[in-house]
């Protein structure tokens, strides 16, 4: 069977968990598949892959969907839990999956310290710019001016550039892609999985239900198009003026590993 196809990755999913809990048009389903495609293409022993996730929509990507060991922990702490798993059992391939609220807000301290320590983890942050599960509140990655449940007049604060933050903290592999850019995203996850050291992949995801509806982009396809249009590759951005980069999110490998 061709590796990385839908038929080929179904064996990694618990058959009894469908339908998924995600809203219609949620970008997380694409990421759910992308992680499995990366694992399938690498032909990893799935029983020796352990997923650690926290609280929020992003945390539900591995748990309960993935048919291997999953440790679904407290809000914000998956990177710290995963540190314990990996240090004690280094032969396991330990992957953290979480959202921007989980990984970057309440869990921000664990994120930068694990990056600094260069713990051999793969951390995948499903960044949909909003707290989806709790009703659409502002997060540390919500763009300035964006409307959320708790910033009805527009977000007055500046967002984190997550990938750059983690790179600055010392991570030895850092990349950013979106759920629109699936092929490079899968390639990046594969690279992060093979990387020895702290690998971080920021994945821009879409939340039409809680983010799009409040920001004049209520449809799933509209949100994916917005990701396509707002992202610019690092290579493409070379030589561009600051004005030309306004509103653009740079994607690619910030720290190639």
């Amino acid at each position: 069977m061709t590796k990385g196809t839908t038929a080929s990755i179904l064996k990694y999913v618990r058959p009894e968990v469908f339908p998924t809990p995600f809203c219609a048009g949620c970008g997380h389903g694409i990421l759910l598949g992308a992680i499995l495609r990366a694992i399938d293409e690498l032909e990893l022993d799935f029983s020796q892959v352990a997923f650690v996730s926290g609280i929020g929509c992003g945390g539900w990507i591995p748990s309960p969907h993935y048919n291997t060991d999953t440790l679904h922990v407290t809000h914000g702490r998956p990177v710290a839990f995963a540190t314990g798993v990996k240090l004690f059992k280094p032969e396991l391939n330990v992957i953290v999956v979480g959202g921007d609220g989980d990984i970057a807000s309440i869990g921000g301290n664990h994120l930068i310290h694990a990056a600094r320590r260069d713990v051999d983890l793969t951390v995948i942050c499903a960044n949909n710019l909003v707290y989806g599960m709790t009703g659409g509140q502002v997060t540390p990655t919500t763009p300035t001016g964006a409307r959320t449940l708790t910033t009805p007049q527009g977000n007055p604060e500046r967002p984190f550039d997550l990938a750059r933050l983690v790179a600055a903290a010392g991570a030895t592999y850092v990349a950013r892609y979106s759920v629109w850019h699936v092929r490079p995203l899968i390639a990046s996850i594969k690279k992060a999985l093979l990387h020895r050291g702290f690998g971080f992949v920021e994945v821009l995801s879409s939340c039409p239900t809680q983010f799009g509806r409040r920001n004049q982009n209520p449809t799933p396809i509209g949100m994916l198009r917005a990701l396509k249009e707002s992202c610019m590759t690092l290579r493409g951005a070379q030589g561009k003026s600051a004005d030309e980069l306004v509103g653009k999110t740079l994607i690619g490998e910030l720290v190639p590993g």
Binding site: P64, T74, A80, A82, G84, V85, F88, H110
Partner: protein, 405 residues
């Protein structure tokens, strides 16, 4: 990176120096890691040595007075032993989180802290209760609330240790009073944690943690290691279910959400929630006899003039006061709960019935007193919260002045 680790497999294992024979599942007797015999040791060090003897192979911590010596000692000792992981985490939340993660990876894991750190750990201690993760949390109590007096003793975490995490549950809390007992009870804490799949809190106070006295290292240590059966439900069916590790092929679903016997989230099911909470309570209370440990001193008469009930360092002073009272012809006795939670209500109640007065000296505003009063409503408290230990003389003075004994 503050991580010291020897390879777990293969030929790289650095010699056999300090190698501890790994214990099988269930009960077994293993050789002591320290040379048997008398030695002078500090309470915190004895805790670290007890952990090593019990087979602790993962420690994560964050510096805090008066518990730091436990981390320092373990860091030094782990470096000379094979198959042990030490990590200094970024905070106490990360420490307990990584301890629970390591426990699921198969470790005998521990962290140590003081009151402020315990406060930070409590959410994840609740997670350990919900996911039935064995681990040992040491709290060397200091005067609080908040930063309080870092180098001064207190017993103000008696209730926090029991009720600090939200929700309904039973937890095991142990409080030793001597360096010898710190060593022994640390081993017992690991055994109880694995036996009942529950976090065990070892409650020291600064005075016991920093106490230096002679102790005897036994030749052998009795240990219980959890059953790692991957074929049966890891979260139900049995009162204490088997606990496979990550990577054992059990395809574990571990979650802090309400779950069924196989770990599937059941977040709106009244039955699942009720069954889970009931089992968390029953698996401890049905085995009180296995968990409780009390010591009594001078309690042989049918009628006592006064019964003191005290734990930790305060019990040392209480015993001194009992001896002094005995010299003056007073029939005084001491009951010392070593297991604080589940609270030994029955034992306290039975003994209290035979005493004219019951007094609870403790370094807090009467936290254990409330538990004693549930079974002995007339019990009185003797409290000190000035960061100083209670002395034998002042308890004796209290008996004379308040009880005319």
């Amino acid at each position: 990176m503050a991580v010291s680790r020897r390879k777990t497999t293969g030929k790289d294992v650095a010699g056999s120096r300090g190698r501890v024979p790994s214990a099988p599942e269930g009960w077994s007797v293993i050789a002591s890691t320290l040379e048997p015999g008398r030695r002078l040791m500090q309470g915190d060090e004895a805790c670290a040595e007890g952990a090593i003897a019990a087979g602790c192979d993962y420690y994560a911590g964050y510096p805090i007075t008066p518990a730091s010596e436990i981390m320092q000692h373990l860091c030094r000792r782990f470096a000379g032993l094979s198959q042990r992981v030490f990590v200094q985490m970024e905070d106490e939340i990360g420490s307990i989180a990584s301890v629970i993660g390591a426990s699921w990876a198969g470790a005998r894991a521990m962290t140590a802290t003081s009151g402020p750190g315990l406060s930070l750990m409590l959410e994840n201690i609740g997670y350990a209760i919900m996911t039935e993760t064995p681990c040992v949390v040491v709290d060397v109590q200091r005067a609080g609330p908040s930063t309080g007096q870092a180098t001064r003793p207190a017993q103000g975490d008696f209730m926090q240790a029991r009720w600090g995490a939200h929700g309904d549950y039973e937890i095991i809390v142990i409080s030793p009073w001597s360096v010898q007992e710190v060593y022994e009870e640390t081993i017992r804490a690991f055994n109880l944690a694995d036996r009942f799949r529950v976090p065990v809190i070892l409650l020291l106070d600064e005075a016991v943690g920093h106490l230096r006295e002679n102790m005897t290292v036994p030749e052998q240590v009795k240990v219980y290691r959890r059953v790692r059966d991957a074929l049966h439900a890891p979260f139900g069916e049995a009162e204490v279910p088997p606990m496979p590790a990550l990577g054992d092929g059990a395809r574990l679903l571990v979650t802090g959400s309400t779950h069924d016997a196989w770990g599937y989230r059941r977040t709106t099911s009244p039955e699942a929630q009720s069954q889970l909470v009931r089992r968390f309570v029953d698996k401890i209370l049905h085995h009180r006899h296995e968990i409780e440990r009390n010591a009594t001193y001078f309690c042989d008469e049918r009628e006592l003039d006064v019964l003191l009930v005290a734990f930790g360092f305060s019990a040392r002073s209480a015993l001194g006061a009992v001896r002094r009272a005995r010299e003056a012809g007073v029939a005084a006795g001491l009951l010392r709960p070593v297991t604080l939670w589940p609270f030994p209500s029955e034992t306290v109640g039975e003994l209290a019935k035979r005493a004219r007065h019951v007094v609870v000296p403790e370094m807090n505003r009467g936290q254990m007193l409330r538990e004693v009063q549930r079974v002995a409503p007339g019990a009185l408290g003797y409290n000190r919260t000035d960061g100083e230990v209670i002395t034998p003389l002042e308890i004796r003075e209290y008996m004379r002045e308040e009880l005319s004994l």
